[in-house]
């Protein structure tokens, strides 16, 4: 069984469109994250949710809006897509209780291409 899954795996769209990426984890974790990996492979956190509440929101444009319907899901909605949004987006989850200290488990990634 896949621990952290993302859909779709590939997403090609035009500038100005609105798109969503879905993430689900079956690990029972309380905390979920979205990361962006750019073309140079640099990985940076975008958002973090704990039990459906936002706890980290790095300097991400407000065109990006995470939605957590329950603690097993953290979806990423992007409005008015721009060329610079092209990247690989990774979802991750963790259970930061004593002893696990942010061992994060990553999904396979969604490669977003904006034309």
């Amino acid at each position: 069984d896949t621990a952290v899954s993302q859909t779709p795996k590939y997403l090609v769209t035009q500038m100005g469109n609105d798109k969503s990426i879905k993430c689900e984890q079956n690990l029972g974790h309380d905390t979920m994250y979205w990361y962006k990996q750019d073309s140079k492979k640099f990985l940076k956190i975008m958002f973090s949710y704990n039990n459906k509440e936002l706890i980290i929101n790095e300097t991400v444009p407000n065109r990006f809006s995470p939605k957590s319907p329950d603690k097993a899901h953290l979806n990423l909605h992007i409005n008015s897509l721009e060329l610079g949004d092209s990247a690989v987006y990774f979802c991750a989850s963790s259970q930061p209780t004593s002893g696990s200290w942010d061992t994060q488990y990553f999904g396979p990634g969604t490669r977003l291409t904006v034309l």
């Binding site: 140079k40 492979k41 973090s48 990774f90 930061p96 200290w101 990553f106």
Partner: protein
């Protein structure tokens, strides 16, 4: 500013030889340190972590890392490299007392193991 440095973009090693992938960090307080590996077109996989205790940490696939507080380093090592170890390796740090999920990643080092 808190940061993680991986000074080598690429490390080339012959199969069977020992390998080292370097990582240094700059954070306030005692850090929690991690290594992740990313195979082509895959998400990141956790390799090992240092929280406290023995400075030499053993992880998955025969990898180990040594925490050196005086040199603020956490180099990844393996005594005998395999071709299948070829991948992108990320060092990450969570500052002690940092907000939940606040992992700071290095820019990654590409490891290439030749037969």
């Amino acid at each position: 500013a808190q940061s993680v440095a991986q000074p080598e973009d690429q490390v080339n090693v012959a199969e069977g030889n020992p390998l080292t992938v370097k990582c240094t960090y700059s954070v306030s307080g005692n850090p929690y340190l991690f290594w992740y590996v990313q195979y082509p077109n895959r998400g990141l996989q956790f390799l090992l972590k240092y929280i406290t205790g023995d400075n030499l940490v053993k992880g998955s696939y025969g990898f180990e890392a040594e925490f050196n507080k005086s040199q603020t380093s956490f180099h990844l090592k393996k005594p005998s490299a395999l071709v299948s170890d070829s991948a992108l390796y990320f060092c990450a740090v969570r500052p002690h007392g940092g907000s939940q999920g606040n992992l700071i990643f290095g820019k990654g080092t590409k490891l290439s193991v030749k037969p």
